[in-house]
Symmetry: C2
Subunit: 278 residues, 2 copies
C-alpha cells in the first residue's frame, strides 16, 4: 500500500503540472473568473480520474504511449476540469448547497453564486477546448455523451428529484450516471489514445462500471452527513453496502485478466477504492 | 424587406427541424431535463446565429455546400444550443435575475434554479457532442475559444462586475465578448465547413465583429428597462449610439465586397440588424 501511495503522489504531481499548463493563467483577463477556476481546480483533489486515464493507457502498453504522451496528459487534464466543473455546480445553493468541499470553502461560498456558475461553465468549455486539440473527435464524442443529459447530468437530475418511492431501483441508475460514467470514459479515452484494442477498451469499460459503482457506495459510507436518501447504504444498510462494494471490486479486477501483469496498477487502484475509510 | 422576412422565416424552419433532430427527444430519460431543455430552445428564438452559419457558407459558394449540408446544419444547431445555454444561465437569479424571456417564463422561473443550471450545462455539452460529429476538430476548437473564459463568459463576467468608473473603455470589450464572439465564430465556422478561403474567412470575421457590436448597441437601445449600466447608450447617449451602429453596419457591409453578389444576403442581414426597432 505504501508503494501505491507514492505512485499516486507521483502521478498527482504530473497531472497538477498539466493543469497548470492547460488552464488559462490566473492573470488572464478577466482575472476574477480565472482566479475562481484555479481556486477550485487546485484545492486538494486526488486526481483519481486523470490518474486512471494514464493507468489505462499504460495497461494497453505498446510503443504508442510515448508518442501519445502529450495527448494523454491533455485528455487527463480535460477529464479533471470536467470533474471540477461538476463539483462546482453540484455544490451550488440550488443543488446540494454545500459551503465546504475538502475542508475549504466551496467556489460559490468564496466567490459568490454568479462567479461559481460561470467558473463551472468556463471549466466545461475549457475541457472541450483541450479535447479539440487531441485531433481525435471520437474521444470528444464519447466524453460529451458520458457527461450529458442522458449521462452524468441525468444522474444528478435523478438524485435531486428523489421521490418517496422507488429509491432502490433508482440507485444503480444514479450511481452509474453520477459517478461511473466519467470514470468509464476516462479509462476508455486513455485506452483509445494509446491505441488499445476493442477487447482492451471493452474490458476497461466493465472495470470502470464496477469500480465507479463501488466508488459511489464507499463515498456514501464515508459521508458523515448521510443526507443522500438515494444512497445504497441508506436503502440496503451498511453491511450489505460493504459486501456489494467488495463484490464489485472483485469483479472489476477480474475484468483486467486480459492485461496480465500490465493490469497490476489498475488492480491496486480498485483495491484502493474498495478499502477507503477502512 | 418583405423578401428578407420570408427568407428568414424559411431558414428558421430549417433550423428548427435540425434542432428537433439533434436534441434528445422530450421523452429521453430523465424526461424532466429534456423537457426543460426543449422548453428553452423552442420558445421563439429568431435563430439569427444559425441562419448566419448557413448564409456565410452560401457566400463562400462552390460545390462544397451540398456535400457539407448535414455538417452545416449540425454546426448551425450546435451554435443555437450554445446561444440558448448562455441565455438560460444569464437569466438565473444570481446573474441577471430575469423571470421572463421573449414574453414567456424563463427556464428557472418555469423549472426551478437547479434544473435551469443543469439544462444550460446539458445544452453546452450537447453542442460539443454535435460538434464532435463534424469530424473537424478545428471548428470545435474555435467555438470553445470564442465562448470560454477569455471570450463570451469573460464578457459576462465583466458585465456583471461593473465598477463605478471605467465604463466607457469596458463597453467595447463587453459587447465584443458577450455578443460578437459567438456571431463571429458562427460565420467563420460556416465558411470553414463550406471550404471558404482564408481571405473569405477573414472578411466574414470582420463583418461579424462589426454586426456583433451593432447588434448589442441596438439591443440596448431597444431594452425598455435600460438596466445595463455598461451599455453603449447609457454612456454615450441614444443619438451617438444610433450613429455608431449605423457606421458599424456600413463597415460590416464593406467587408463583404470580396464576395460580390454572393454577399447580398449577408448585407441584408446587416441592414436588418441595424434597423431593428426603427
Amino acid at each position: 500500500m505504501k508503494e501505491l501511495k507514492s505512485y499516486l503522489e507521483r502521478e498527482r504531481k504530473i497531472i497538477d503540472k498539466g493543469l497548470e499548463k492547460y488552464l488559462y493563467p490566473a492573470h488572464a483577463y478577466p482575472p476574477l473568473i480565472h482566479r475562481a477556476v484555479r481556486y477550485s481546480v487546485f484545492s486538494g483533489g486526488k486526481r483519481l480520474r486523470p490518474i486512471m486515464v494514464i493507468a489505462a493507457a499504460r495497461a494497453c502498453g505498446g510503443g504508442g504511449i510515448k508518442r501519445a504522451a502529450e495527448s494523454l496528459l491533455r485528455f487527463a487534464c480535460g477529464i479533471e476540469m470536467i470533474h471540477t466543473y461538476s463539483l462546482i455546480h453540484d455544490d451550488l445553493p440550488a443543488l446540494d448547497n454545500d459551503r465546504y468541499r475538502r475542508g475549504k470553502l466551496s467556489c460559490h461560498a468564496k466567490y459568490g453564486e454568479a462567479i461559481a456558475i460561470l467558473a463551472g461553465d468556463a471549466l466545461l468549455t475549457r475541457a472541450f477546448h483541450i479535447l479539440s486539440l487531441l485531433g481525435n473527435c471520437g474521444v470528444a464524442r464519447e466524453v460529451a455523451e458520458a457527461i450529458g443529459s442522458t449521462g452524468m447530468i441525468g444522474g444528478q437530475v435523478e438524485d435531486m428529484t428523489k421521490s418517496a418511492t422507488g429509491y432502490a431501483k433508482k440507485i444503480e441508475y444514479i450511481c452509474s450516471r453520477k459517478t461511473a460514467f466519467l470514470i468509464r470514459v476516462s479509462l476508455r479515452g486513455g485506452a483509445m489514445i494509446a491505441g488499445g484494442s476493442a477487447a482492451q477498451i471493452a474490458a476497461l469499460d466493465r472495470y470502470g462500471r464496477d469500480i465507479g459503482f463501488a466508488f459511489q457506495i464507499t463515498d456514501d459510507l464515508l459521508d458523515v452527513k448521510q443526507d443522500r436518501k438515494t444512497s445504497y447504504p441508506a436503502v440496503f444498510g451498511a453491511e450489505n453496502s460493504k459486501n456489494k462494494a467488495a463484490s464489485l471490486i472483485k469483479n472489476a479486477k477480474k475484468s483486467l485478466d486480459i492485461f496480465g501483469d500490465s493490469g497490476d496498477i489498475l488492480k491496486r487502484l480498485a483495491d484502493y477504492i474498495g478499502t477507503r475509510g477502512k
